[in-house]
């Protein structure tokens, strides 16, 4: 029982990061039907920014906002440089474009920075635990969950209560009609990328704190988790993306603690296989989004 509670806390902590990543993927998917395989690169770029700040002597309290700012700027820059040229292209083109961007950024770091691992110190509170009723909780998990909940709350407010949120939701519903109603496509797409970048930035803070390092290929795993979580949730649904993130985190932790040691390394493989099964039985994900085709 205590192990289960610990697992759940751990899973929610991990899932929080996935939820933030998945939400970012879903926001962009909503406005331009682009599945952003370059989403993980936001973590790579902020990772190098964090490394630079670290060797310059910044503390984590300064590095954290820097990471978010860099992620937002990178997200907008990627949209301006690459994605705006394929805005109305078929889905096939969009998929491969973002795949190409993923490789370009990775290769650029490889060529012009270094293939080597860049390490930095993790904050000292990250490994601390505290005890409630005989159950050990990691401080880190609690902080991650709390910050994620606050972020999700703020995002909800932004989407529900502001003009920008309204136009974003309208664009996600029907982009062409939204434009006719006076939503400015440029602004709403840039806004979506900024929001997606901000969410990735907050995820990046925790991802980097836990990893304590970055490499040119560091974006791959977070990208995959974010994309998968968004897909589990039902692509296009923001609520589903968040649920998908938490579900993925919980599934990973619960599996890892229960699989026999000899194949514990296969956790990701088993999780992917489970996701494939989920699709066979519920192809549309947790939350069904009506993509009615007009005939």
């Amino acid at each position: 029982m205590t192990e289960l509670v610990q697992n759940i806390a751990d899973g929610l902590g991990r899932g929080s990061i996935y939820a933030l990543l998945a939400l970012g993927v879903a926001v962009v998917f909503g406005v331009m039907h682009l599945l952003n395989f370059a989403h993980g690169e936001l973590i790579t770029v902020s990772g190098y920014a964090a490394y630079w700040a670290f060797i310059t002597g910044w503390s984590w309290y300064l590095i954290a906002p820097l990471v978010v700012v860099v992620a937002i700027a990178t997200s907008i820059a990627i949209e301006q440089v690459a994605f705006r040229w394929v805005r109305n292209a078929p889905d096939f083109t969009l998929l491969l474009t973002s795949f190409g961007v993923h490789f370009l950024i990775e290769a650029a770091f490889f060529m012009y920075v270094s293939a080597a691992v860049r390490s930095f110190d993790r904050p000292d509170w990250i490994t601390k635990t505290f005890d409630v009723g005989g159950i050990n909780f990691e401080v880190f998990d609690v902080v991650v969950i709390a910050v994620t909940l606050v972020t999700l709350g703020l995002t909800t407010l932004l989407l529900q209560r502001t003009m920008f949120g309204l136009s974003l939701r309208a664009a996600a519903e029907d982009f062409d009609t939204a434009r006719l109603m006076g939503v400015r496509s440029d602004r709403v797409i840039r806004g979506a990328f900024a929001l997606s970048g901000a969410l990735a930035g907050i995820a990046a803070i925790f991802w980097l704190m836990r990893a304590g390092q970055t490499t040119p290929g560091a974006g791959l795993t977070p990208m995959l988790k974010g994309v998968l979580a968004a897909l589990i949730g039902g692509l296009g649904s923001l609520r589903g993306a968040v649920m998908g993130g938490f579900a993925l985190g919980l599934a990973e932790v619960l599996l890892r603690s229960r699989l026999p040691d000899s194949i514990a390394g296969l956790t990701d493989g088993v999780v992917f296989a489970l996701i494939a099964l989920l699709f066979i039985f519920r192809p549309q994900g947790f939350v069904t989004v009506a993509h009615a085709e007009r005939v």
């Binding site: 795949f99 060529m111 293939a115 998968l228 996701i275 699709f279 005939v295």
Partner: protein
Amino acid sequence: MFPDRRRDLLFPTAGSVGLFAVLVGGALIYAAVLGGSAERLITAMFIDAIMVIGIQIYIGNTGVLSFGHIGFGAVAGYVFAIFAIDPERKARWIADAPAGLDQVQVSPIVATLIAVAVTLVVAVVVGIGLARSGAKSGAVAATVITLALLFVTHEVAINWTQLTGGNRAPLSFGIGDTLDSMLPILAVLLVAIVAARLFAQSRAGRLAKAAREDNLAARAMGVDPQVQQMAALLLSVAVVAVAASLRVYEIGNITPRFFFFEYTLLTLVMLIVGGRNSVTGAVVGVVVITAARELTRRLATEGYELFGLSLDAAAVDWIFREGLPTIGLGLAMLGFMIFRPNGLMNDWELDEWLARRWLRPQEPGRPTLGPIADGAAHSRARLEADGLTVDFGGFRALGSAGIVANVGEIVGLIGPNGAGKTTLVNVLTGIVAPTAGRVLVDSDDLTGEPSHEIARRGLVRTFQNLRLFSALSVRDNVEAAYLIAEAHRDGRSRPSIDELIAVAGLWDHRHRRADELDYGNSRRLELARAAAAAPTFLLLDEPTSGMSDAESLAMVEQVRTMAETIGAGVVVIDHDLNFITGICDRIYCLDRGAVIASGTPDEIHADPTVQAAYLGTAAPA
């Protein structure tokens, strides 16, 4: 299997041999001139070519983007290595492999066959997942599933060390045990090219391409895309599995990163640059990318003498670094996606070019229509829709609507915008599931059947917003539907493809791509394509929308002739009252999801409730 033996069997085979000859001839001359290292280069290029052709069979014919084919390659590569490497060497890396696999050794050919078999089993499972996720051109969920497959195989390769040796111990052949002849590679390459071309021309390939162009329209013609996608996947994976086995055998070992992201990127860029919809394109892409990589490699290692200009090494140092190939591939992918998404060759094929020059001049002239098909034999068929109700959330689009139509009759559906006309046709053809009600053709209950099944049983529609198979020729559009009729509408005598095209007035345009047609001709093609599916009832959704008055009048004649030619009943939706009253025997008027009046055109004209619905005056009590 092959609709036209000369066009679909003879020419593609000959063209593929030609393509093979050009590729291999060119490469061998290059190797002969440069000697030594060039041989390794072209061997690798041939294997890449087999791999890319394998991937093309799936992506090209279905339009589904797959990142997972190299994952299939990983499965095949490991199975091949585990079965083909001698036990003595295996004992070093995977001494305690499960199921005594460390003791097994078979010949490379048998090992390849085992690899293909195992990989096909995986492909069936993945294929079911893809089908369930709604795989179609550009489908995002399907692509993510293939990406997950790539990661699963990689994870397994790294972590299941008892079987694969993982990262630290590459499974390797003994020195001298590896492939030392180019012949097997060339043989497989030839077979792969021929197989890819024949599949594209086959019935399955033609239907897959129709579904690639428009999944919904293909289903409405009676195509079940999942079947063709599975066929394409299995053939494609078999080719990839052989290529992977050859690659492992040629290199002499396998590690997890052999079949992962880098190789996925390389093969996909080759396919995209050449043109994913063409086998020739796949080959061209392989050659272009191989040449570009070789050129940069030589520039980087042997200095910067380019066309007699010698460049300052320091000045270009920032370009020629490790990692350049990846940047180059990424840029190529981005550039082609933005500026030329269909690649260098688009859908050009050597054999089609040859066929245009040789077969076309021999084509028979415009057919004159013989005696009308056995329309009379079907004249008793009756379409009965009863109590159809559709709720979209809280909105009732149809409330207990019903119509009756007989073969030999043309029945009109009119009503103001939003009356539920298109929804009614959508329900009849299985695109929207009704909340309640029944659809019968004679005693055949079609309610709740999937679209393609309904089309095969005799209800075929056209689309208000034009859903042609854009990249296919006019004739190929009609042929796709015709192939379905051939298999599923057997009892009916059918006019030939050419006759249908002639009746629709598209004879002079038959070789043009559907997306090159003007509006009126596109509408006529919609009609011809639906008629080719040999329906008992033809459902036309606004066939004159966007047409001029003269064109509408011509369309009246065309619809009539077409209906008589194929012996079908017609249900037609239109706003154009001249058209409707000019063509229909009976008319139903819908308003707010219910039938408010029915009768002959004259009765409908005189009906006060119809006038109220159209003009908005209060209906008399």
